[in-house]
């Protein structure tokens, strides 16, 4: 069980703000953190890994306190035994594939899983190659295998597939699912690719501006999306006898919305507003 509740001052895409995250996750779940880039998703992973220290909060993993700012507990990344897959793979350029995997091995480890991992990830004929000579997908497989050498219980994936083409993505998604169940992992993935999330994730947490907006199964969050929100600037307010119309610029489109006069009284030209659209009707423009 992961129990995290942290706060940190961060620089978001839209400026400075507060990362405020609290959630719990049961063992062996596959969770995705979803949201725009710069929303703070990667920071959550880095805080879980101990690569970033929050200003406030606690992290308790399976009853063990990894972080407790008030009581000055902060387990070093070295002591957390997690698998972390970096966006740029972070393979050591001076080592061959085999050496990268061997480097990850802990001397005190009871079992050496490298042979199994090499087989599972189809790395057999790449073992003596240096990372620079591998394709993106191959590097990714090596990085994934390396992250699992110490047999962590928690695997953190920072947009690992974003740099790969579609067919490679599909393959690696299959690998991810395979290792998730084979090694009984709790996996947290950062992604903003909806089809990918629908395919491999059990749960989604939507993060916006450092806050959790919603949480649920991918199908609940993405499939039955019956409303969406538009943001725009009021260009004009036209009062009629019966109703009030406001003219809003959304992106490059001008839209007219009828509103109650009581609502209109609170608005003025130049205001930035959000418009929630319920039950949108979608038509294919090509047909």
């Amino acid at each position: 069980m992961i129990d995290i509740n942290i706060e940190k001052e961060l620089l978001f895409a839209s400026g400075e703000g507060q990362l405020q995250i609290a959630f719990q996750l049961e063992q062996r779940k596959f969770l995705t953190l979803y949201g725009a880039s710069g929303a703070g998703k990667t920071s959550i992973l880095r805080i879980l890994a101990g690569l970033m220290t929050p200003d406030k909060g606690k992290i308790i993993i399976d009853g063990v306190t990894w972080l407790d700012i008030t009581n000055k507990i902060n387990l070093a990344p070295q002591k957390r035994n997690i698998g972390f897959l970096f966006q740029d793979y972070a393979l050591f350029p001076n080592m061959t594939v085999e050496e990268n995997l061997l480097f990850a091995l802990n001397k005190k480890q009871a079992k050496n899983p490298i042979k199994d991992l090499v087989e599972l990830m189809d790395l057999g004929n790449l073992q003596h190659r240096k990372p620079a000579t591998l394709s993106g997908g191959q590097q990714q497989r090596v990085a994934l295998a390396r992250a699992l050498v110490q047999q962590p219980k928690l695997l953190l994936l920072d947009e690992p597939l974003s740099a790969l083409d579609v067919s490679m993505r599909n393959k690696l998604q299959a690998y991810l699912l395979q290792i998730h169940s084979a090694y009984q992992l709790t996996t947290i993935l950062v992604s903003h690719d909806i089809p990918e999330i629908m395919k491999i994730s059990e749960e989604v947490i939507v993060v916006e501006q450092g806050k959790i907006i919603t949480r649920g199964t991918p199908s609940k969050i993405f499939k039955n999306q019956t409303s969406f929100t538009l943001k725009g600037t009021i260009q004009a307010i036209q009062k009629d006898v019966q109703a009030v119309k406001i003219i809003v610029l959304v992106g490059t489109e001008i839209i007219e919305i009828r509103v109650e006069s009581s609502t209109a009284n609170k608005l003025s030209v130049g205001d930035i507003i959000s418009v929630e659209v319920l039950h949108p009707i979608i038509r294919n423009m090509v047909l």
């Binding site: 035994n81 972390f84 970096f86 740029d88 050591f92 390396r146 050498v149």
Partner: protein, 230 residues
């Protein structure tokens, strides 16, 4: 017949200086590359000072600090029996300070150029900072290390002002090739001066050329802006 001793002394000084500098510069460059300390700009400035300071200024202050009349000089002499002024050891210390930026800056740049995720990946895999330094960081900054070593070595060969101020001109002890050249010119012995000069010219040329060839292009971003400025 040419007296080979000044040349021998020059290369001995350059070799010892470079080796000691490497030991000092690795932790210093590592600290500078990764620290978030507010003292960083000050330390960086101090390290870079020898790039712009006239060598005579540096030599003059070292002379004052190490003179047997100063507190430090007297202490060193009394307790350790070391005389820094007009001795080979004084030359080594002076040269180390003088060539410090030539060793530290390329290595620091080498560390800074590595993706931070390499370090982080090693930490997450349970590796200590020391293991990460030896097995992950150092092997991946080889070109920077080579640049630092060669620049520090070549720069020490070319040193004159610091050596003259702190070491003087004692044959076999502090009379390095650059001083010997000056000395020969003073006594109108142009032939000998020319021989020393030609040898230094050829050797430094070959050293630098080998780095350019080995590192290919790496040098362009480095800081060989102030060549041996004595």
């Amino acid at each position: 017949m040419l007296d080979w001793q000044p040349l021998f002394l020059t290369f001995k000084l350059a070799f010892i200086t470079t080796m000691l500098l490497l030991v000092v510069s690795l932790p210093l460059a590592y600290w500078l590359a990764y620290t978030k300390s507010k003292a960083k700009p000050i330390v960086e400035t101090l390290v870079s000072m020898p790039l712009v300071l006239p060598p005579t200024v540096l030599g003059f202050y070292l002379l004052l600090v190490f003179s047997p009349n100063s507190t430090l000089g007297a202490w060193l002499n009394e307790h350790l029996g070391i005389r820094m002024v007009f001795s080979f050891m004084g030359l080594v210390v002076g040269s180390m300070i003088y060539s410090l930026p030539f060793m530290v800056q390329p290595i620091q740049a080498g560390f800074a150029k590595l993706s931070p995720s390499l370090r982080e990946a090693a930490y997450v895999l349970g590796k200590s900072k020391w293991t990460t330094f030896r097995k992950v960081l150092l092997p991946n900054i080889n070109p920077a290390l080579l640049t630092g070593i060669v620049l520090a070595f070549a720069h020490t060969i070319g040193e004159f002002g610091v050596v003259l101020m702190i070491g003087g001109n004692i044959p076999g002890k502090t009379r390095v090739a650059s001083i010997a050249i000056y000395d020969e010119v003073e006594s109108m012995n142009y032939a000998a001066a020319n021989q020393y000069s030609l040898i230094l010219f050829a050797i430094t040329f070959l050293i630098l050329l080998s780095v350019y060839l080995l590192n290919g292009g790496y040098f362009k971003s480095s800081l060989l802006k102030s060549p041996n400025d004595d």
